[in-house]
């Protein structure tokens, strides 16, 4: 009702939004404010049925905080980008173009949905820093469960203010232009570079930069004017009389803090120290929501590096093949551990382990040991039995054996392959290979 601004409808603050905002603020090292309130920001636009947006102008819910950029983000220096404030506000309706020719349709389902706006201080010096700042924030907010932060579907959107300055003057002496609706990391980087180039060109030609709002044309790689300062509206901010102040106690903040997962910086350090994992494996796991927890629940009593390797190569391989996230995968920690243990103790081969993984991710609910029984898999670990199979193969391929004995070493792989096929994959390749060599040596000595 409020979304469509039905007369007589009133807004309601969803307490869950306050909770999520508090998590974001604490995750960004900021301070949740004990008192915050909501204001009306007035402007006319067709995606804004109320004629104003409910936002937090005078008393935002969060102030302060920072994101650190350093070697992990590919910089050879370390710096902090400070967070100015974090505020809760209403989203606008979604404009739908192209469905009805000549018309823009307004989807009110998004109108009034809460969003969190994070405003940084002017601490960013390059397009790369800006890009990494956004990327790191995405990772962080995903990690603490604030948002899935997918830029493509608008779960995180980004406006950037760009100004340039002469090397002899203050870094904030330039006039800034706001770039709106940058919807991917690549676009952020390119738009900033394009805008900085434009401003430098203007100044070099003796011109001045006007404060204005600009858009970015990704095809042409240039920014274009969307609104000049003269037409900048007076938002006529007014405290929203429909929503009382939000009062937050210290104990509530402490409780939210205690329920926050470990922050990525700390996780990274710990994974390296505690498990000796490689930097690549750590980065891969940290960037996939839920992965670190999956790893840590699987790792106890097992070889951490092998567990990590299986997750990052085999499990992730399957996920990307299925275009799935780990959080939505049907694979359980118990199934993964059962599969891993069967493999480690030699009950199954790695080919069989991979097959189990595929079955689990297809939705198989049964445990690894049950599935091994169902398949009737057992590893032939009796050397005598393998020797029988191998000698039969050698007998039936005299040409290849002769070739090997003449020094054609590649014949070995062919023979091992034949023997593996004869065991129906139930023998470990290394065992088969060893025995084939043994028997061939015997042939030489004969």
């Amino acid at each position: 009702m409020v979304d469509a601004s039905i007369p007589g409808s009133l807004p309601r603050l969803n307490p869950q939004c306050v909770d999520i905002a508090a998590r974001a603020i604490l995750g960004l090292n900021g301070q949740v404010q004990h008192m915050s309130s909501f204001d009306r920001k007035h402007y006319f636009y067709y995606d804004q049925p109320l004629g104003y947006q409910i936002t937090q102008h005078f008393y935002p819910i969060g102030r302060g905080g920072f994101i650190e950029l350093g070697p992990d983000e590919g910089f050879d220096y370390t710096k902090r980008v400070r967070i100015h404030q974090v505020q809760l506000e209403q989203d606008t309706a979604k404009s739908v173009h192209g469905v009805s020719p000549g018309h823009v349709l307004i989807d009110l389902n998004r109108a009034g949905v809460a969003l969190i706006e994070v405003v940084s201080d002017p601490d960013i010096d390059t397009a790369e820093e800006a890009t990494q700042f956004v990327r790191k924030m995405q990772m962080l907010l995903r990690h603490i469960g604030v948002s899935n932060c997918n830029m493509e579907d608008g779960s995180i959107r980004c406006d950037v203010n760009v100004s340039v300055y002469h090397r002899d003057s203050d870094r904030l002496s330039g006039t800034r232009c706001e770039l709106k609706n940058l919807n991917s990391l690549k676009v952020i980087r390119n738009a900033i570079d394009a805008e900085a180039t434009r401003q430098k060109g203007l100044l070099a030609a003796g011109g001045v930069v006007d404060q204005e709002t600009r858009g970015f044309n990704a095809q042409k790689g240039v920014t274009y004017l969307s609104r000049s300062k003269e037409s900048a509206p007076d938002y006529r901010y007014m405290p929203d009389p429909d929503i009382p102040e939000v009062r937050i106690s210290d104990s509530w903040i402490k409780r939210v803090q205690s329920m926050l997962p470990e922050l990525p910086e700390a996780t990274r350090l710990r994974l390296g120290k505690q498990y000796g994992l490689s930097r690549e494996d750590i980065e891969t796991m940290i960037n996939e929501p839920g992965c670190v927890s999956f790893f840590e629940r699987s790792v106890s009593g097992r070889d951490p590096k092998r567990v990590a390797a299986w997750i990052t190569s085999e499990v992730f391989g399957q996920l990307s093949y299925r275009a799935q996230r780990l959080a939505n995968s049907l694979l359980t920690v118990e199934q993964f551990c059962g599969m891993f243990d069967a493999l480690s103790s030699g009950l199954i081969t790695s080919a069989q382990a991979k097959q189990l993984l595929i079955e689990f991710m297809d939705g198989e609910k049964r445990s690894a040991s049950e599935m091994i029984k169902v398949h009737g898999w057992k590893v032939i670990s009796d050397d005598a039995q393998i020797r029988d199979i191998v000698s039969k193969i050698l007998d039936s391929h005299p040409k290849e054996v002769a070739g090997y004995l003449k020094g054609q070493k590649r014949r070995l792989n062919f023979l091992v392959g034949k023997a593996m096929a004869a065991t129906k994959g139930q023998a470990r390749p290394q065992d088969v290979s060893r025995i084939v060599k043994e028997l061939l040596e015997v042939s030489i000595s004969v």
Partner: protein, 488 residues
């Protein structure tokens, strides 16, 4: 019973009372309610007829707010207040006329035309809930729900000779009330007797999770607790003989303005005497910032009005949607609404805010503090109020305040128009006695009392925030005492 239901007729001529006819009054507007899908539930209010001001939503009536912007607009949901009355068995009679979006004091600036005063067709019915007051006065409905942003229930009640009650801010849910000044708006009740108002009010005063500004159950409990403590403090050793013994009435000196008509002064004295006879003590009190209340009120109300009107841009609602946005407001909103939107937009502006809106908000807090100083009951909203020792209440702390609702009786519409022709803001002055209660969020009720040249007058009682029950109690006794005196 019949006698009790009759308004106070002292000095009023029968001839006035019998004209014009209800149909001529233009109190009810638009089509009658669509029939109910199912029989109304039987309850305590079965048989009670209810009029709804045109800005209170129900699915069975258009919610026009008296505006072209909402012509033929019907709400998809019921307001919380109407739903509550409906669930108690009440019968919907129709939509009552009003000034467009509640912006007016005469029920004259309406899509549906002017509502006439039931005592004299040439006179103002008061506004903006003039349709509600006229309907109740002529027995078209037993209770009407109105809205009161700066006196819009009390003023028409006074001029039409009925009881009009504005509860504490947040006592009744605003959900379904089309907003004018959201921090001042209250759903109010009009009826011939304070007793009827109390009965209906008890069905309405409940928390509503759909309105964040509606009093929570905890606040209601805290108020009851404060009230209880005060009562225990006052309790003498013996049961008092008079119904309103222990009640202290304050008469604000600042309301004694030279514009008061002689009839009004007489009625004020008459009310004081009646209250004394009921056992009250009556004393003089001071509300130092009362003179600044009116300009502060109009600054805050108009800023909020401009904000709340922003959605009426011609793109939605009723039959006029899609006529195009260019010039939509000039076509769809009346002159008075346009004037207030422009003024409100101005005072909210980046530069004017500091010189208008900010001082107005400060005055508002001063007015609130004035009231907190005169009332014996602590204000439950203020931090530490519960901790204030009730013992602290010294001389000058009172339970209710008594003052006129308006400076005189209903003016002639022609005179009023001429006055406004000379000065646009002249109409705003009618609200001088009523707006302080809205600024402070405290309850106020107008009770018919006395007359002026054959026209009814109203006396207004106010009480501390949340002290609505006590206020209605005093109003009921006062009304009965005045009525019995008349018979005698």
């Amino acid at each position: 019973m019949a006698a009790a239901l009759r308004p106070n007729l002292r000095g009023l001529s029968r001839r006035h009372y019998h004209q014009p006819t209800p149909a001529m009054l233009n109190a009810l507007v638009g089509p009658p309610p669509t029939p109910e899908a199912a029989a109304p539930p039987a309850g305590a209010l079965t048989g009670w007829t209810i009029g709804l001001k045109s800005n209170i939503a129900s699915t069975r009536l258009p919610t026009t707010c008296g505006s072209r912007a909402l012509q033929a607009y019907s709400s998809p949901t019921d307001s919380t207040v109407w739903r509550r009355l409906h669930l108690a068995g009440a019968t919907l009679v129709g939509a009552t006329n009003m000034d467009e979006f509640g912006m007016g004091s005469h029920t004259r600036d309406s899509l549906h035309g002017r509502t006439m005063n039931p005592w004299d067709a040439g006179r103002s019915a008061g506004g903006s809930s003039g349709g509600a007051a006229a309907a109740v006065a002529r027995g078209v409905c037993r209770v009407a729900l109105g809205s009161d942003t700066g006196g819009s229930v009390r003023l028409p009640a006074a001029w039409c000779g009925v009881v009009g009650f504005k509860p504490s801010y947040g006592q009744l849910s605003r959900r379904g009330l089309v907003a004018y000044g959201s921090s001042l708006d209250a759903v109010g009740l009009l009826a011939r007797t304070a007793a009827d108002i109390r009965t209906a009010y008890l069905h309405l005063a409940h928390p509503d999770t759909h309105d964040m500004t509606c009093m929570t159950a905890e606040t209601r409990l805290r108020i009851a607790h404060l009230r209880q403590r005060l009562r225990e403090q006052r309790q003498g050793p013996t049961e008092p003989l008079l119904p309103l013994a222990h009640v202290r009435v304050g008469v604000p000196a600042e309301c004694w303005v030279h514009e008061l008509s002689s009839g009004c002064l007489m009625a004020w004295r008459q009310a004081c005497a009646a209250l004394r006879a009921l056992g009250c003590t009556v004393e003089r009190v001071s509300l130092g910032h009362l003179d600044a209340a009116l300009p502060a009120y109009y600054t805050v109300a108009l800023a909020e009005a401009a904000s709340n009107m922003a959605r009426f841009d011609g793109a939605r609602y009723g039959t006029h949607a899609m006529e195009g946005l260019r010039g939509a407001r000039s076509r769809l909103l009346g002159a008075e609404v346009q004037r207030r939107v422009l003024l409100g937009s101005y005072v909210m502006g980046h530069q004017a805010r500091q010189s208008f809106l900010a001082p107005a908000q400060r005055i508002r807090r001063l007015v609130q503090r004035d009231f907190d100083r005169v009332f014996a009951l602590p204000n439950a909203l203020h931090a530490g109020a519960a901790g204030r020792a009730v013992e602290e209440e010294g001389e000058g702390r009172v339970d209710v305040l008594l003052m006129p609702t308006a400076v005189g009786s209903a003016p002639l519409v022609s005179e009023e128009a001429a006055e406004e022709g000379r000065c646009r803001a002249a109409g705003y002055v009618t609200d001088v006695m009523t707006v302080p209660a809205n600024l402070a969020g405290i309850p106020a009720v107008s009770v018919p009392c006395g007359s002026d040249r054959g026209l009814p007058l109203g006396m207004q009682l106010m009480a501390q925030y949340g002290d609505d029950h006590r206020l209605l109690d005093v109003a009921e006794h006062l009304q009965k005492a005045l009525a019995s005196k008349e018979k005698a």
